[in-house]
């Protein structure tokens, strides 16, 4: 088969919505784009454990603590499903970690913001996981088989995350004046960064067309962002909290909420590494990896020892 007909066969699989699996021929760029997208998605899950892990020891009740522990464990699991999917494309786990630890790979910039109060945990579950769900549900039908299957598993687990966050916000917003103010403050700080999670505006997103063609992306950044604004504004009414954006207004003609301008300078600045916690996040990951080397070595040494003992006994 010539390269030309491999391409035709690949294109016809994409057009017929048939999954591409690890051993199928695929264009180099498809492979590279997927490795980048899936590994960065995985990194986001692992880094995302840090801002939430910050409040495990200070959760206000045993129930809240157990629930937050379960959520953070899930995020570790999500990282794993995604690293697994990326590894099927020919990159090793160590390589991906190296890219993360040296700053070569990116992760979702939302996790470069600090969790200042308990209410931040509620805001993250409600808004950040909410935005993630909106992104991830369409990915359950993405063209690359292992990625789609990982997303199905992730989505099943993600819905408790959002409910957990909303429940926290509900309790706080219906609580004392101090609690209500704390919830409003967290909402105010996490709202805009959550909108930025959907990425730059479509006009400034050069890869979107290719990603849509290959079914790696099923909806554009702006489409998903608009949906998130519409859905979340309604949810905020139940909480009785003020929308952090004074320009949010229902537009009858469009059938959507209009909203104010996003500060894209802040977005690019955080992406470039100048957010409040970028340095802290990478330091935490590097520390955990380097200080855990002895554990990885010990496990291998112990496994080898057990194997030799079994061989001798046989």
């Amino acid at each position: 088969m010539t390269v030309h007909s491999f391409q035709e066969h690949f294109d016809s699989l994409i057009d017929r919505e048939i999954a591409i699996e690890p051993k199928d021929w695929m264009p180099d760029n498809y492979r590279k784009t997927l490795i980048r997208q899936i590994s960065q998605h995985a990194h986001s899950e692992i880094i995302g454990m840090l801002p939430e892990g910050n409040w495990i020891t200070r959760a206000p009740s045993l129930r809240r603590k157990a629930v937050l522990l379960a959520k953070v464990q899930d995020e570790a699991g999500h990282g794993l499903y995604l690293y697994s999917a990326a590894e099927t494309l020919g990159i090793s786990r160590d390589e991906m970690y190296d890219q993360l630890h040296t700053g070569k790979a990116k992760y979702s910039s939302i996790f470069n913001y600090p969790t200042l109060t308990w209410a931040d945990i509620g805001a993250i579950g409600w808004l950040v996981d909410g935005a993630a769900i909106m992104n991830q549900v369409p990915l359950c039908r993405t063209s690359y088989g292992p990625y789609a299957r990982a997303m199905v598993r992730v989505c099943k687990e993600e819905s408790f995350h959002q409910r957990q966050g909303f429940e926290i916000m509900l309790t706080l917003s219906k609580g004392t004046e101090v609690q209500r103010k704390m919830a409003q403050d967290a909402f105010n700080r996490w709202w805009w960064p959550s909108l930025m999670m959907f990425g730059p505006p479509d006009a400034e997103s050069p890869h979107t067309e290719q990603s849509v063609r290959w079914r790696i992306k099923r909806f554009t950044n702006d489409e998903l962002r608009q949906k998130f604004v519409d859905v979340t504004t309604e949810q905020a009414k139940v909480l009785g909290l003020d929308m952090p954006d004074p320009e949010i207004k229902w537009n009858e003609e469009r059938g959507h909420y209009d909203f104010g301008k996003i500060n894209w300078d802040e977005f690019w600045n955080v992406v470039k590494g100048n957010g409040p916690c970028n340095k802290q996040r990478l330091e935490a990951r590097n520390k955990a990896w380097n200080e855990g080397q002895w554990v990885r070595d010990a496990a291998m040494a112990y496994a080898a020892k057990k194997k030799n003992k079994a061989a001798e006994a046989a």
Partner: protein
């Protein structure tokens, strides 16, 4: 400063039987130092919601897979043997339970 490929744990494929009577299904992969750790890790990451009653782990290097490029010739014998399907056979209406 990070360390690369120093004793990277081998990769294992994980198969889970969700309940008695069903097959083990491929759930994903993970890294572990040996089979026991692989099973325990699989329990931690693939059965947090009681999704499994049985776990199989196999080192990924032992999985042998067919080549999709060879699919046409590999499966060719099956393509023209419709007599393997029950619908190929015409029976009189009076025949019951067949």
């Amino acid at each position: 400063m990070s360390q690369q490929n120093k004793n990277e744990w081998p990769l294992w494929e994980v198969f889970i039987r969700s309940k008695a009577g069903l097959d083990h299904k491929h759930a994903g992969s993970l890294h572990a130092a040996d089979a026991q750790m692989a099973i325990e890790n699989a329990r931690d990451v693939y059965t947090r919601r009681m999704e499994g009653v049985s776990i199989w782990v196999v080192e990924s290097k032992y999985i042998r897979a067919s080549d999709p490029g060879e699919a046409a010739s590999l499966y060719e014998p099956a393509t023209d043997k419709i007599y393997r399907h029950p619908t190929f056979y015409d029976l009189p209406d009076e025949v019951k339970y067949m």
